[in-house]
Symmetry: C2
Subunit: 286 residues, 2 copies
């Protein structure tokens, strides 16, 4: 497995490569959720294709008061996981490689990115779109794999890819969870033992709403209240938002239909966790 740190070394590696390129963009601090993405990428690439994992903590997607400086960067362990799971290369650039001096170009999606995390974190998705487009242009993948834990990110990138006619096929992979239901996240390490226990309320609340939907409840207001009530039982939790939205446009809905999504963000201290659940499509008792 190659570790590439410059645009030139990446270009040379790509020039010597035949077959499909499958990209897994990450900020490092890899956990089993990322592992599932790399494994999925390995399968998609097949024997002839190549899997490239990018590890880059993108400064432009962090707000001024967010956790950029303390974001974990355990590169050796990350590289070991990539190697074990069959990645062919890691692209691990410095910020200067991605953002050359005087960088002044941004990419912005204005609709899907507007609400939810976009409302709470101004500029976040502009940073995401800009860096993802740069990584696409640098790595020129045929496919790129993202995790559905970052649900809005997936939909923003899907819209950007469609709008800009980017020739990359997107693959979205399911969220990986702890047995407690807590969605794996690089930010979970910030949680105290108590916060970690309480954080399981996010998944429990979302599942309670999904169950209620399965039993026939369609009111977005009532389904959101079910989530809120479960989370309110966790005294350390501070709800940022609980939103009931269309699965693709992320426009708020009043009456939920199969495929619609409830997404949320909840603070524990300064740690902000996100999760989401999709209303089941058919086969459920009304």
């Amino acid at each position: 497995m190659k570790v590439l740190r410059t645009a030139a070394s990446l270009r040379n590696w790509l020039a010597a490569t035949t077959g499909k390129i499958v990209l897994v963009p990450t900020m490092g601090a890899l956990h089993r959720g990322h592992g599932a993405l790399i494994t999925r990428a390995r399968k998609l690439a097949g024997k002839d294709g190549r899997v490239i994992v990018t590890i880059f903590v993108n400064p432009t997607q962090f707000g001024p008061k967010e956790d950029l400086s303390r974001y974990p960067r355990p590169f050796a362990a990350d590289a070991e996981m990539c190697r074990t799971l069959g990645a062919d290369a890691i692209f691990h650039p410095t910020p200067e490689v991605i953002y050359p001096t005087g960088s002044s170009t941004t990419v912005e999606e204005h609709t899907v990115a507007r609400g939810l995390c976009g409302a709470s974190r101004p500029g976040h998705f502009r940073g995401v779109c800009t860096v993802v487009l740069k990584l696409f242009n640098l790595c020129r993948p045929d496919l790129a794999v993202f995790g559905l834990k970052d649900y809005q990110q997936c939909q923003v990138i899907a819209r950007m890819v469609r709008d800009l006619h980017i020739p990359v096929r997107l693959i979205f992979a399911p969220t990986v969870r702890e047995p407690s239901g807590l969605a794996l996240s690089s930010r979970n390490i910030y949680l105290s033992a108590e916060e970690r226990t309480e954080a399981t309320a996010l998944r429990r609340g979302l599942l309670a709403a999904r169950t209620a939907f399965g039993k026939g409840e369609r009111s977005a207001h009532k389904l959101r209240a079910i989530v809120a009530k479960t989370i309110a039982a966790a005294p350390l939790a501070r709800i940022d938002y609980i939103a009931a939205v269309d699965a693709t446009s992320l426009e708020p809905v009043v009456k939920m239909k199969p495929g619609d999504t409830i997404a949320l963000a909840v603070f524990f201290g300064t740690t902000r966790l996100i999760d989401n659940v999709q209303m089941p499509k058919g086969g459920m008792t009304r």
Copy 2:
């Protein structure tokens, strides 16, 4: 020569193509200036490469009070010129192909695009960057040829290509002029006979400044005044701006050095003309 109108037909044509792809993006209403770009592209492509000319009047780069609806669209004559000059394909999409329903993603350069035409035409370069990136993603060229008459556009695109790591080599070709010195432009057809005669003052003013620079004048203020004085002698002309700037950043300069550029925009009635001249690099008497 193929005329392609959809993304799918373009993709199929590209898939059947080997060798370099050289792109000439235009808004149609082709004149000898565009002709020179196509001829240059033909040489760059060689025998094995392919030249694709895009003809698309991009709505997002026109302001609300600008000439989008009346912009000339003589497609048959344009196609004939492309064929004659050896283009292999024309990509001539409808706005719906480039901007699918609900398009919500933009690309913006925030520094080079700020002054000059960017100040006079808010949103213009956002429209330019967005459409050029889309055309790059659709056509996947190895090289793209632009004309230096649109000097700021060239520099904005160069910055975007660098910043976003777009794997396209840019070629900038010199302005083609009438014997009178008037830079060829699709908008010249809007000019009355009298305006057309007066419009030669743009080139005369710029050349007078260049001559003064050659004789040792370095004051941006004085060099701009020389241009302004020449244009003031044309009673129908209304100056939008005359700027003395660094050739790459387009930051205003106080003392001009070789390579710096004077760029201008001047209205004749509602017709807005642009032109520019670079201060010579070496070999000139002080």
